[in-house]
Amino acid sequence: MSATWWAVIATCVGCYLLKLAGLAVPRRVLDRPGLRRFAELAPVALLSALIAVQMFASGQELRFDTARTLGLAAAVVALLLRAPFLLVLAITAAVTALARLAGL
C-alpha cells in the first residue's frame, strides 16, 4: 500500500478517535462544575476563533479579503435586522460573489 493511503487511513482513524474521545469521557467527570462550565464556554471560543481564522488567515499568513469581509459585514447587518438564518447565508454569499465580480 502506498504512503498516501497510509496517511489517508491514519487521518480517518485519528480524526474519528478524537471525536469519540470527547463523547467517551465518563459522565461523573463531566458533571464536575468546573469542567462543565469549561465545556459550555469552549465551543464559543473555538467557533469565534474559527470565524476569525476562516475570514482572515490563509495557512500561517494573515490575509484581508475585501469581498469576504463585505460578505460577513452584510451578514452582521442582516442579523441586526433579524433576518432568518437562511436569508443571512444567502445574503452573505451574494454580497461576497458580487464584490468579487466587481473586482474587490
Partner: protein, 251 residues
C-alpha cells in the same frame, strides 16, 4: 431560530430547519475539497474515503495540502489531527445533551464537528440556559430535545451533501466552478456567526462576548507563529477561567 421558547415543537422544527440550512450550505464545499484533493494528487477513492470516514473538512483540506506540497506525509497527518482535536472539546459539550451511551456513541461520534456543535449549541443556549453549575439540577429536557434534533439533522444533511459533493468535485475537477466565485467561502464563517449571534446578543452575556472576542484574538495573534490547527485549539484557553473561577463568578 428566533423565539424557540414558545412551543417545544416549534423549537424542534426550527432546529431542523437550521440543520438543513447549514448542512446544504456548508456541504456544497465538498466540491472544493474533492477538487483540491484530486489536484493535490490523491485519487478519487482516497478523496471519498476521507469524506466518508474522517468527515471533518479542515483536517481533510490539511492532508490534501500536505500531499500537494509533496511534503512530509507524517507531518501532514499530524497537522490534520491537530485540526481535528477541537472536535474532542465539542464532544465534552455534546455528551450530556445527546445522551448517547454505549455502542451508539460509536455512530454518533462521526458527527461531532464544528457545524453540528454550532447548531446544537444554538438550541441549548437559545431557550432557558441550564442553571449555572447547579449540581444535580434537572437537565432542561426541552432544550436537549431541540439540540438533538439540530445535531442529527445537521449531521445527516451535511454528511450526504459533503460526500456527494466531494465525489462531484473529485470526478469533475477541471470543469467545476471555483466556490469562491459563488461567495461560498464566506458562508462558513457567516453560519457560525449566525448561530452564535442570539447568545452573544442576549442580555447579561458580557462574559460570553469576552470569551468569544478573546478566542478570536488568540487565534489570529498566534496564526503567524504556530502550525495551522493549533491557533483555533489554543483559543479554548479563553474558556479556562471558567474551570478555575469560583462558581458564583461565572453567572
Amino acid at each position: 431560530m428566533e423565539d424557540t421558547t414558545t412551543r417545544p415543537d416549534q423549537g424542534v422544527s426550527a432546529a431542523r430547519r437550521a440543520g438543513i440550512g447549514v448542512g446544504l450550505a456548508v456541504g456544497c464545499s465538498g466540491v472544493a475539497f474533492g477538487a483540491a484533493a484530486v489536484t493535490a494528487g490523491l485519487d478519487v477513492v482516497q478523496a471519498c474515503v476521507l469524506s466518508l470516514f474522517a468527515f471533518t473538512g479542515a483536517s481533510q483540506f490539511a492532508l490534501a495540502g500536505a500531499v500537494a506540497g509533496g511534503g512530509d506525509l507524517v507531518a501532514g497527518t499530524a497537522g490534520a489531527l491537530l485540526l481535528g482535536a477541537r472536535n474532542t472539546l465539542y464532544g465534552l459539550r455534546l455528551a450530556g445533551p445527546l445522551g448517547v451511551r454505549g455502542l451508539r456513541r460509536l455512530g454518533v461520534a462521526l458527527g461531532v464537528i464544528d457545524e453540528t456543535t454550532a447548531v446544537a449549541m444554538a438550541q441549548l443556549d437559545n431557550g432557558r440556559e441550564a442553571r449555572p453549575g447547579a449540581d444535580g439540577a434537572e437537565p432542561d429536557e426541552a432544550a436537549n430535545r431541540r439540540a438533538r434534533a439540530g445535531f442529527f439533522t445537521t449531521f445527516l444533511t451535511l454528511y450526504v451533501a459533503w460526500n456527494v459533493s466531494t465525489l462531484i468535485g473529485a470526478v469533475g475537477t477541471a470543469q467545476m466552478a471555483d466556490p469562491a466565485v459563488l461567495g461560498l467561502d464566506a458562508v462558513g464563517p457567516a453560519c457560525f456567526l449566525a448561530l452564535l449571534w442570539p447568545r452573544l446578543r442576549s442580555g447579561g452575556a458580557t462574559r460570553l462576548r469576552l470569551v468569544a472576542v478573546a478566542g478570536a484574538a488568540i487565534a489570529l495573534l498566534t496564526t503567524p507563529l504556530l502550525p495551522p490547527g493549533i491557533p483555533v485549539l489554543l483559543a479554548s484557553v479563553a474558556a479556562l477561567p471558567a474551570l478555575l473561577a469560583p462558581r458564583e463568578a461565572t453567572r
